[in-house]
Subunit: 343 residues, 2 copies
């Protein structure tokens, strides 16, 4: 179609691509408090409140493999993915809209399973299923997710608010979902030609759960509100810790130092990584799909944050000129790198 | 995956399927003014206002064919599709978020063309591009569209508000986009094996424009506001007139009579339909993708509505028990039927 110059998407990488495409997107409407560049758009609603809206997509073959992903779990995870973006703004999700593209090979019963998972997660999080539609798809299953939340304007945490010397906090532990996926992929490969496959999952239930049915950390946002802590910046950990740290650094025009031995990793994650000759730290840094939260608070809040009992401090914010680094136990610095455009 | 009963999606049809899946979706949050069942969800925002949010998807191979759909036009149309849902609530679109799934075979330049169309339409409609992302797709191009608008709560037109004896009004003309698509498909078939294809489009520019670059009817919503007309119900005409009339009847628990000879059809539509041995009325009733608006107003407002100079009155609302009918010039009644689940 084009005789002009042809640039491959891989040359720019995912972040470079989005920058390049949305460079000219200016916000002109008064109601647009925040447009491109965060987990969600922020829309004025009344004098003091805001509505935050996020959009996500789960695509068969890219984000999930139906040979081992139960549809009920997939529905649950779709809601987690959407809710997590809203929570990462320090807002509470209230509505969700799900748009399905389904191939005709799917049965109505299968779709009902998917919706059962959606409704279960909605109930758990206090979210109303407020719309969406179901369309034919020529290819695989596509799940479009639009999530709507609400917050006081003053309480919203943006990616761009991290300050010099802020502490970098992480909820839960990282890399477990990625190792769960590795396990599922291994069993799929091993059992590809077996007639009555019996995958070996014993002892790895936690990792499977973290990949197949991750919980959105609404508890954290509620705990922060109770302690009257408004993080200076926040992001959800969906692409791996390295990528999220770099996003915060870019938006906040700062650097960061992350201490390798402080990254929370579950013992199950380490055990399977060792069994599979993989590095659990790499799973935490680049694996993704944890749906935990990363946020920053002023140094003075260290005690208050630790009192929550829900987070680990893994590092701190530095000047932009110093860059973003991972500090190993022997004291050497490794430059953090974002993942490329996944294919 | 299932040993249980298997029901094919086609057995239920698209509307039956959505009903079946979202039956248990109750709205529990105070802020959910309207959930499932309209062009958009309606969310409380301040005491008197509401934010309306709609979600749409355009899928390659289902909604567009890149062999003849210029990417700039596709971007423009994506915004039209989203904006049209918001306008159909009698609200004005203010923000849009676009989520792309792109295959690696697409070049950055192609994506820039797509975004150029998106930004052009946004500018025309006063919409801010407020987010979204770009992801890898294993299959074709997928475009997820989330559109956000705003209205006074009292001014919102729902599908469920049509009253007995209301007039049914249509903007613009119907069936043109469908005939544009038929023309593009014909030329694609005819020229499939030709080396330097030269499609014959002369004289059909209007139809192509209606399919490839439809305009969202923001002018209508502004004109209605100026005349202080709040339609009792409204819907955008994306699936063909028959389907939209049935949606209004279902939501408003009423019947309808549409007069065949009053359906506005452009002479270009009729001319090409005749050339292709097709029925222009079928194109208007079932073709879809017109992105015009259908709304109802009380009978007493007839003069006021006609003064707009922008609409045709094509019928009126009847009791639910009478059903929804198309009345032919010779006076016979044909029961209106919805389209099935397109595959």
């Amino acid at each position: 179609m084009h005789d002009k110059k042809r640039t491959e998407i891989a040359e720019l990488g995912e972040f470079g691509l989005i920058d390049c495409l949305t460079r000219s997107a200016a916000a002109d409407n008064e109601s647009t408090l925040k447009g491109v560049g965060d987990d969600a758009a922020v829309i004025a609603a009344g004098r003091n409140d805001a509505i935050v809206v996020s959009t996500d997509a789960l695509l068969e073959g890219v984000d999930f493999d139906l040979t081992y992903f139960p549809l009920k779990h997939l529905g649950y995870k779709a809601v987690t993915v959407g809710a997590s973006d809203i929570l990462a703004m320090n807002a509470l999700p209230e509505q969700i809209m799900i748009s399905l593209g389904v191939s005709s090979k799917m049965s109505v019963e299968a779709l009902k399973d998917l919706y059962e998972g959606i409704e279960f997660a909605c109930k758990e999080l206090g979210i109303d299923l407020a719309g969406g539609d179901t369309r034919a798809s020529m290819t695989g299953l596509t799940i479009g997710i639009t999530t709507i939340g609400r917050a006081r304007r003053k309480a919203i945490s943006y990616r761009g608010g991290a300050q010099f010397n802020d502490l970098i906090c992480i909820t839960g532990n990282l890399g477990a979902a990625y190792m769960g996926l590795q396990l599922l992929e291994r069993e799929k490969r091993v059992l590809a030609d077996v007639e009555n496959p019996e995958p070996q999952f014993a002892g790895h239930e936690y990792l499977l759960q973290r990949y197949l049915k991750p919980r959105a950390r609404k508890d954290i946002i509620e705990a922060l509100a109770e302690e009257k802590i408004v993080p200076t910046s926040m992001i959800d950990i969906s692409d791996g810790l390295a990528s999220e740290v770099l996003q915060i650094c870019k938006a906040s025009k700062c650097g960061a130092r992350i201490y390798l031995d402080r990254i929370p990793i579950a013992k199950q994650t380490t055990a399977l990584a060792e069994e599979m000759h993989a590095d659990p730290v790499v799973a935490a840094l680049n694996g993704g799909e944890d749906y935990e939260l990363m946020f920053t608070v002023p140094l003075a809040m260290q005690e208050q944050v630790m009192r929550l009992g829900l987070v680990d401090v893994v590092g701190h914010i530095t000047r932009e000129s110093t860059g973003a680094y991972l500090v190993t136990p022997d004291g050497s610095d490794i430059k953090l790198r974002a993942q490329g455009f996944k294919e």
